[in-house]
Amino acid sequence: MNSTEIRELFSDISKRASSEGASVELEATSSESFGVNYSKQNLEEYSSDLSQNVGIRVLFEKGAGYATTENLSKDAVLNCYQEALQSAKDLNLGADSKKIPQKLWKGPVPKPLAGLLHPPSFEREIDAKLQDAKTLEKSALDFHADIASVPYSHYGESKGKRLLLNSLGLDVESEGGGISAYSYVLAKKGEDSKMSGTGGFYRQLQKFSAEKMGKKAAQKALELLGATQPKTGKYTIVLRNKVASSIVPFLFGHVSAKTLDESRSLLKGKIGQKVLSPLLTIEDDPFFIEGSSARAFDGEGAASQKTTVFKEGVFQNFLTNSYLAEKLNLPHTAHAVRNGGEMGVGPSNVIFKNGTKSLEDLLAAEKNVIFITSLEAAHSGFKTASLDFSMPGAGFVYENGELKGALHQFVVSGNLLQWLHDVQEMSHRQPDQGESVVISDLLIPDVSIAGA
């Protein structure tokens, strides 16, 4: 079904909703993706996907119902609408009398955001793409005799379109895409084996080098060979920029007005208070094109806007959608996201203001410093309610700024809010590829590490 057919069908659905006393919103997405892996220079997996999906939100008095379908036949989409309508009616029956009803978004038309799709990056011959995937593995395998294999190596492309319509006349469309790649390498020396790697997202092909990525992954795995366990104790650490970016999203769960509304936010009542280190200024920036979460409009069609979330450590704003902004009397920041259909709240690109020091300065900040280069299993090691965590890590020990050896098999424990409050220094070294969280290396004192 193309955009014109979807618009025609939506017009029909909108009339049906109106006759039921309901209003309706429809999001249609379509995407094409391609991915390839090589193992021992043999093609291991080649995948290609053509997807389409329709998500419908129906508002009926105080009830909101959601349904999605991948079957875009007319009957299936109408059935999807009926499911959403029924859910909205069911939820209206059970709604609290004081509940504020949701409303569809009506506002200024969002300006298009150029650069989300770079067509030349996708127009290469398939052989050139396969060659990149091969190079990604080969450059790692050839890097050193101690590289045993590359268990996970992948080159992928995806691009897609999104159309959002509602009964109040909203009609907005966007497209985007990018290249993603990763390489995780196994290094072995005798009985010692270590795996490490790297990956990234790129809007433009020219910023990606398969050879560089493969070599970097191999280098990282090799560096960990011969690692020892640190002694259990409290240490000053430097948290590598990419590791920091993997745990920051847990903080943003508490910046969501939805979490606040559900009485679960640790930031409740803290607007205007110094919550983090004064070194930390954090913006949500949907216009940062290199970031994988750049967008022209949010999940309900509101024009994107930049939002300062923390300024020099002081909490400034919860992120909101239009409903929660009204309900909680907060500024509307246009951060509606659809979580499996349901309208929630989520960040776009989270950008930390850069620090002033070099990584070397941070590593030499104390006599003994542990440089944490990986933290594993955040999905299970983090308690989202309290932001307490306990995660296995790997890294390096530095003495007076000099590398003394690799470390492994230790567990780092703490609380994320406390860590970000305790940050003593920040480097000016941000990751060199697109991320949805852009952050520099952090120097944090008094961190609990369990080892030998």
Binding site: L43, L50, S87, L186, K194, E342, S386, M391
Partner: protein
């Protein structure tokens, strides 16, 4: 039937047109629903339909996988052509074998009754309200509850160029209760869940009063607990979800997905001693009503009961079609995938350590200073190095042979092969628990299980 037999044959032949020696279609038409409460009132009611097909072709050991949500003739043939042309220039080697009449009748590993759309939604919301009420009545420290009910009905159709043609329907139901507690500015949460793979009305058999009470009790225990001590110490891992240690530490390394790539520490160790003699471990896809059981796996093969380790000796890997082709080991009916978006891979089903002869009390009495992990959380493993980690959700310090006090933040880390050698006692009381396992072919229902086991030494990552 999701796709007509004649169209399947046409599609398979298109997929074989450039010389592939195997082609397969996995079609899916699934319904899922999620209902939840927040602030004691219905929060949302979501319904989703997943609809599409994955076309897989193999050229020797090379595999191409193309997916589409357009199941029209044009859409399927386009996807089949894309798959075939990934190896352009080759000549057709074969036509697809004529398809058998679809198999739909199995040895009744799973039976179904009370499908989601046949049950009034109000009944489901009432169950969630009961959970909410019982939790809030238990303690004034409860600040929020999040009861949730998830339902999934997956209809599948699998056909391949060897003439295999099967259809099946699978149902998975799960109920969750998460409670949030707060005391003196400290916040925490705890959740429990239960499941059924057969009956959409399973929730009517749940004692919601008891469930609410138990969840709140555990949440308050965790809220008030200090961080665990750090360092190497003996750990008792209790039954049920404690089996996640075996799942993470060893199970993933026994899948041909990693064995065939020579990236598992268990490669080449068949018939070798890899664990203490007290350890027998099984992956069984045939347990009636089991969370990870299947009538037929996602490649159309019959699931089996696979003894992985017998009295400490490695006996078998878990083997899918491609894994079998690459390694030569016999297929064990372990090919699984989350949905049509994923190519299948060898994965676990219901994986557990078999019952031994000890009691939990025997084990506690053995410990001077250690940890009793009553409830485990999730974890992960690096199959290449065998390094694993998993978190405890509810744990207690054991001192001088007695359970002493609750602790939080006890993450257990180590190497799978070392941990297997350090299991010194296996208990009598085997229990299985449901989980979702994430790996190369997506997130799938997989049960883990064990009786209580004593690991003589393991690194506990508490606070220094």
């Amino acid at each position: 039937m999701i796709i007509a037999q004649s169209l399947i044959e046409k599609t398979l032949n298109e997929a074989l047109s450039t010389g592939a020696d195997f082609a397969e279609i996995f079609a899916e038409d699934s319904y899922s629903s999620s209902l939840s409460l927040i602030d004691s009132a219905p929060k949302d009611a979501l319904v989703g339909k997943q609809y599409g097909a994955g076309i897989r072709v193999q050229f020797g050991h090379e595999e191409i996988y193309v997916t589409t949500s357009d199941l029209s003739e044009a859409g399927l043939l386009r996807a089949a052509r894309t798959a075939a042309q990934a190896k352009a220039g080759g000549q057709r080697k074969k036509q697809a074998d004529p398809l058998h009449e679809p198999v739909t009748d199995y040895d009744v590993i799973q039976e179904y009754k009370n499908l989601p759309w046949d049950i009034q939604r109000e009944k489901k919301f009432q169950f969630l309200r009961n959970l909410d009420r019982s939790a809030r009545a238990e303690s004034s420290l409860v600040t929020q509850t999040a009861p949730k009910l998830q339902e999934k009905v997956q209809r599948i159709q699998i056909a391949n160029s060897r003439g295999l043609h099967v259809q099946d329907q699978r149902t998975h139901y799960r109920a969750f209760l998460e409670v949030f507690v707060e005391e003196n500015g400290n916040k925490d949460s705890y959740s429990k869940n239960t499941f059924s793979v057969t009956d959409g009305l399973f929730f009517e058999k749940i004692n919601s009063d008891e469930w609410g009470k138990e969840t709140v009790k555990s949440a308050i225990t965790v809220l008030r607990a200090p961080f665990a001590p750090a360092g190497e110490m003996p750990v008792i891992i209790d039954s049920g979800f404690g089996g996640v240690i075996f799942h993470e530490a060893c199970g993933h390394g026994l899948e041909t997905t990693s064995v065939a790539k020579d990236s598992s520490v268990f490669c080449g160790k068949l018939e070798q001693k890899i664990a203490n003699a007290c350890v027998t471990a099984i992956d069984d896809g045939t347990i009636a009503g089991g969370w990870g059981s299947l009538n037929v796996d996602d490649e159309g093969n019959k699931p089996q009961k696979t003894v992985l380790i017998e009295n400490g000796i490695l006996k078998s890997y878990m083997v899918d079609e491609l894994g079998s082709k690459k390694t030569g080991y016999a297929i064990t009916g372990s090919g699984r995938r989350q949905n049509y978006k994923f190519a299948p891979a060898s994965r676990m089903r219901n994986t557990f350590i078999a019952a031994g002869e000890h009691t939990l009390d025997d084990m506690i009495k053995d410990i001077d200073h250690g940890i009793y992990a009553k409830e485990m959380g999730g974890g992960s493993v690096n199959p290449g190095t065998g390094d694993f980690n998993f978190v405890t959700r509810e744990a207690y310090l054991v001192k001088n042979g007695k359970i002493h006090s609750p602790v939080k933040g006890a993450t257990l880390i180590g190497k799978g092969i070392d941990a297997l050698g350090k299991i010194t006692k296996v208990g009598k009381d085997l229990q299985l628990a449901p989980g979702m396992c994430g790996s190369v072919s997506g997130s799938i229902p997989a049960a883990v299980g064990q009786p209580p086991v004593l690991v003589s030494s393991i690194l506990v990552g508490g606070k220094a």
